[in-house]
């Protein structure tokens, strides 16, 4: 007998609402359907009503966790359209904030992974350690989330020596946190190994991006493949894992925090002096696209201008758009009880599971099951 389960909106740990229709037979998942659009705010359309400058702020507000990725990608694309080169110092600061963001995003994800596994103590521990990092954002950018540091033609805030010093002193502390997480992942490995498999071929076929792709053994990273900001100047390893499962995805992210800390060290060491902003001039007519490696993977912007100060069209392709679909492969033949951790492993930027509607396939009857019950395996 099989039944359809609706994994519907909201949970305090998972972030945004989305609906999954999960068909289950004998507690094993047979098929998954995805319904999106619960937090659709019509941003692409709104961007066609605001000026190029105002849209930086709007791009940032597409996602709280990838705020720098969005605004950086947007600014880069517009700068490409205008034909402007940003000062070297500005590109270093952009990359620095980018890596700090990757750190806080990855730590948040790792914390949520332990929360999903029921390890509340470690969840709180990582969140607490992450706070030291968040304090730095206030010093460097002026706000914890939504930094508003990018401007067309550079950055808006210079990195003060005091801020640079504090970033530097925090790095060893973050390294220790990463080591701690790696140890914890090792002991949690039996719960994660083999869950939500996505083979290299499937990953390529679905076009997944970012840590999910790298966890399936594909060496792909926009920072290396198509360097932007100051990434051409730094040396780092593109982390891959061959496990193709939840554990591999966790390891990729944990090891990436180590790389990010290393990149920050290099950026601070080589930070050139000079201006932080250039004039961008008047917008020409034309088209341009740009991409960055957001914490969740490749993020693409396309902008068309008709020569006015308002873009004619802005199109973006966020990483979760590609990754979310692969959930069908990952969940197939998996135990229903593993559903939360597999969904979590994607680090979706549109998420959320708590209340489930269970539909009996034969009778069509629905019943609601809480995620807590699901975790206990009582559904």
């Amino acid at each position: 007998m099989s039944k359809v389960i609706m994994v519907g909106p909201y949970h305090p740990a998972l972030l945004e609402p989305e609906l999954y229709e999960v068909t289950v037979r004998d507690k094993k998942i047979v098929d998954v359907g995805i319904k999106q659009g619960y937090t659709h705010r019509g941003i692409e359309r709104l961007m066609e009503t605001k000026s190029f400058h105002q849209n930086i702020i709007l791009a940032e507000r597409i996602c709280g966790l990838c705020s720098q990725a969005h605004s950086c990608s947007y600014c880069q694309t517009v700068e490409g359209l205008f034909g402007v080169e940003i000062p070297e110092r500005a590109s270093y600061i952009r990359a620095l904030v980018f890596e700090l963001e990757r750190l806080h995003s990855h730590y948040m994800w790792l914390a949520l992974l332990f929360h999903t596994l029921g390890d509340e103590q470690r969840f709180i521990k990582i969140i607490d350690a992450r706070e030291r990092l968040m304090d730095l954002f206030e010093l460097v950018c002026g706000n914890r989330v939504h930094y508003s540091i990018n401007a067309l033609g550079g950055v808006r805030r210079d990195l003060k020596p005091e801020a640079a010093r504090r970033v530097k002193t925090l790095l060893p502390e973050l390294e220790r946190l990463t080591e701690d997480i790696m140890r914890a992942l090792k002991s949690a490995a039996p719960k994660l190994e083999g869950k939500g498999p996505l083979s290299k071929e499937e990953a390529l076929a679905y076009g997944v991006v970012g840590p999910v792709l790298r966890a399936s053994g594909v060496k792909s990273d926009i920072r290396r493949d198509d360097p932007y900001a100051a990434y051409g100047e730094v040396d780092f390893e593109v982390i891959t894992e061959d496990g193709c499962d939840v554990l591999a995805r966790a390891l990729v992210r944990a090891r990436e925090t180590h790389e990010s800390a290393d990149i920050i060290q290099q950026l601070l060491g080589g930070l050139p002096a000079g201006d932080i902003k250039t004039e961008v001039g008047k917008p020409p007519a034309g088209e341009e696209s740009g991409r960055v490696e957001a914490p969740r993977g490749e993020l693409i912007y396309f902008i068309r201008s008709n020569g006015s100060n308002i873009p004619e069209r802005v199109k973006l392709r966020p990483p979760t758009y590609m990754n979310d679909r692969a959930v069908v492969e990952m969940l197939r033949e998996q135990e229903l009880i593993d559903l939360p951790v597999i969904l979590e492993s994607l680090d979706r930027c549109i998420s959320c599971t708590n209340r489930l509607t269970v539909i009996d396939e034969r009778t069509g009857k629905r019943r609601f099951v809480s995620l807590t019950d699901l975790k206990r395996g009582t559904s």
């Binding site: 740990a13 705010r41 709104l46 000026s51 969140i127 706070e131 304090d135 989330v145 508003s148 708590n354």
Partner: protein, 291 residues
């Protein structure tokens, strides 16, 4: 004592507020001292944290969750989106603000509000005296306007991405209104202000029970058109304009009064033959002054 359940619902946020709500669980913010805990079911909670601007698709779920809450059904709207829709107010997928769907008790302004502000708002909603946190070095708060320097030119209103700044022209005065309910502390206005009259305060905004009440405003007198008598431009702006022209081009100093007079004619009257003639004369004089 039994802990009070809190339920968080995202009705269309960018995640920013949600991760800050999550960060509020860090021990340093003392959330546990309030005797609250986050729960997984609305029916176990009596406090609802709403983040984001309610999209058309989430209006119904929002109502349902509110109905399921335990009494006294306290609602805290977190962030500029939940307060007044931030930059998304005009979107086709938005139809009314949070407090038009359900009753909201406490509003937390900010984009996103810091965990300190969220914990403070929860305390306020529960009737506990909140701990006051000072803002750290480098913090970008809300715009403060120097009433002495502001000329009422409206540059800030032009650039504000969320339309948090409004110009209201009366008979005698222009009011420049800064609505903190929509403000996202991006400092775009600070950058655009030609008079350096705007500065971002290094303070965390406190929670409020009336979202429309928070903000600041400046009043500047309006000058009347010399021809038709309609008030059309702040007199201070006229002054600042001629100041700037004279300081940039020293040769125009002698013609200052005439420049100011020419600028004191409204756009409609400028097209009158008599005014066009005067403007032509002034232009000739300006050219002469340079040679």
């Amino acid at each position: 004592m039994k802990e009070i359940g809190i339920y968080r619902l995202d009705v269309g946020s960018c995640n920013g507020c949600d991760i800050e709500v999550l960060s509020a669980l860090a021990p340093r913010f003392g959330l546990a001292k309030l005797g609250v805990k986050f729960v997984d079911e609305p029916s176990e909670a009596s406090v609802l944290l709403v983040t984001g601007v309610p999209t058309v698709k989430m209006r119904e779920p929002l109502k349902q969750v509110y109905e399921k809450l335990r009494d006294p059904k306290l609602v805290v709207a977190v962030g500029a989106c939940a307060l007044a829709g931030e930059a998304f107010e005009d979107s086709y997928s938005i139809d009314g603000m949070t407090d038009e769907v359900i009753r909201v008790n406490v509003y937390v302004p900010g984009c996103p509000p810091s965990p300190q502000a969220i914990v403070g708002a929860l305390a306020e909603a529960l009737g506990i005296k909140p701990k006051v946190w000072s803002a750290p070095q480098g913090f970008r708060g809300y715009p403060q306007v120097d009433a002495e320097k502001c000329t009422g030119c409206g540059a800030c209103e032009q650039v504000c991405p969320t339309r948090a700044i409004e110009l209201i022209d009366g008979e005698e005065k222009r009011t420049v209104k800064f609505k903190y309910e929509k403000c996202i502390s991006c400092a775009t206005c600070e950058e655009a202000c030609p008079e350096d009259a705007i500065e971002m305060a290094a303070e965390r905004p406190p929670p409020t029970r009336d979202r429309k009440a928070i903000g600041t405003s400046v009043e500047v007198g309006l000058a009347k058109c010399l021809d038709c008598g309609t008030p059309f431009v702040p007199s201070r702006q006229l002054r600042a304009l001629s100041d700037r022209i004279v300081s940039n081009v020293g040769e125009y100093k002698a013609l200052r009064d005439e420049i100011e007079r020419a600028a004191s004619i409204c756009a409609k009257c400028r097209g009158e033959i008599e005014n066009l003639r005067k403007a032509k004369v002034l232009l000739l004089e300006l050219t002469e002054a340079l040679s």
